[in-house]
Amino acid sequence: MDLEYQLIIPEFVMAGLAVVVIAAALMFRQVDQKWFGYFTAAGLAVIAIVTAVAYWNTNDDFGTVLAVDHFTVLFRVFFLGIAFFTVMAAVQFAGDRLKNHAEFYGLIVFATLGMMLLAASRELLTAYLSLELLSFSFYILVGFNKLNPFSNEGSLKYMLLGAFSSALMLYGISLIYGVTGTTTYSAIGPDVVEGTRNIADQLASFAGGSGGVDPDATRPGLLIGLVLITAGLGFKVSAVPFHQWTPDAYQGAPLPITAFLSAGGKAAAFAFFLRLFSEAFLPAAAEWVWFVGILAAVTMIVGNLMALQQTNFKRLMAYSSISQVGYLLVGIVALNAADIGQSQDAASALVLHLIGYVTTNIAVFAAIIAFYNRTGRDDIIDLRGLAERQPFLAFSIAAALFSLAGMPLFAGFATKFIIFQAAFNNGFLWLGAIGVTVSFVSLYYYLMVIKQMYLYEPEGSDRARFHVSRPLAGALVVLVAGVLFIGLYPTPLFDVIHSSTEGLFEQAAALSASVVGN
């Protein structure tokens, strides 16, 4: 079997980068640790640029397991960017508060590698293993501050629940495999159509014992598999009934890792979600749309309501990110449209919102990291008077929070608008309505933070102005500019995304054509 290894060179280079960083730290013990961070960041930037240039026009498969198409390349560059900004934001933090720096950066790179592979997978075994690669890196990274009991605890809970959710998802995968006989997305698609034809009727007839249906097509196992996969994925993206680990892991993790977890972890899980549900399960959309819809609604509502009562900034961001997951799930629900074009619009809207949300979130966290480097505190009340002590940080946080709340001019508005529009267009009025309503609720808690920064005087012994280290400030400027840019002029980004999601729907388009043909 001939495999075109040149397609996955970036992944190999990533693994090489991580190994080099870890090995270099063993060899050069005298070097200032921050250089490992800058070296990693430089490596990530180079890989990102080279990948973007060299692979953009690729549309190929690596064996049966990976697809290297526009979608993959877009997400490769996206994840590399996330990792780059995380590392830039982490350098000073890690130098001050962590040990084993090289392993810290190495694990960030490995986690990014897992994300890249996850976005590229078009086969369940590969996807599962990539997801585990990603999760394992995060389990370690969350517990990285190993003398801090909060960090241990977050890591322990995250790990145990993560393993449990993996088991649920795997059971679902096994049922899907049992029904369809394959784990390749594109091959699942047609079988799913076979398998779910009239599942509702079949279930009804099974319950009624009438037995009047064709036994060859009686496959509720498929439905259970779908539910379990969604539940497992719900854990990974922290959708609501499965969100318990999120606040703990977020609060326990070192701050840069909280940023990385909320941005990268979520983006990767959604890339997987999107590819799986559009390439493999779209033909069965009528079966899963109701429970994903309920998941989305509950997630939006509970996430926002829980966020209202938080006092710790990390926990606030945890619940905020949960509510954002709700909005993203609306995008998944909206995949179920009358025609393929509308589905693709929904997918593009989802990716756009993902990019906007991630940019914003990293901006918030970069600013909070800068604040934490100075003060070592992360409760909301500690932000008091930040506008006087460090106006730029206060402005960045305010801008990013406005964006998360979905205020016009900022990224959040444009992207949320498009995603809700997709939901409205595809007939999910109620979801869109819930989303818009809870967005107003979210404005309240974001404003509380902004109020602390702008309306109160600084408190405590340390009221002096302070400086932000230059690399971190630079990264922050870029991120805030990105938030404003996406908010004001999302069209070019949307076009790029739209061209990348095209490949996801080839299968579904072919299938629907054949159905129409019949």
Partner: protein
Amino acid sequence: MPALEHILVVNAILFAIGAMGVLTRRNAVLILLSVELMLNAVSLNMVAFAVYGHVDFGNITGIVFAFFIIVIAAAEVALALGIVVRTFRNRATANVDEVNLLKW
């Protein structure tokens, strides 16, 4: 050979027992053991599907999948025990709800 449905039902029971362990136990090591039971049920499921449904088509996906699940489970145990040992060094307990600085 036993019927496929019988194997699947046995696996489902094993899986549910594991889930019950995860939901009722509070010691980290015991939760981990329960998760391992669930993973065993899954790999058994995979092998059963591969053997009954698809081997004759040359499809051994399920067997390969089971192999990888076993490997992952081992790695998971190693890592989880590292974390447990770490927690124990800091807190002298391995019970997840005694580890309660954060709300569980």
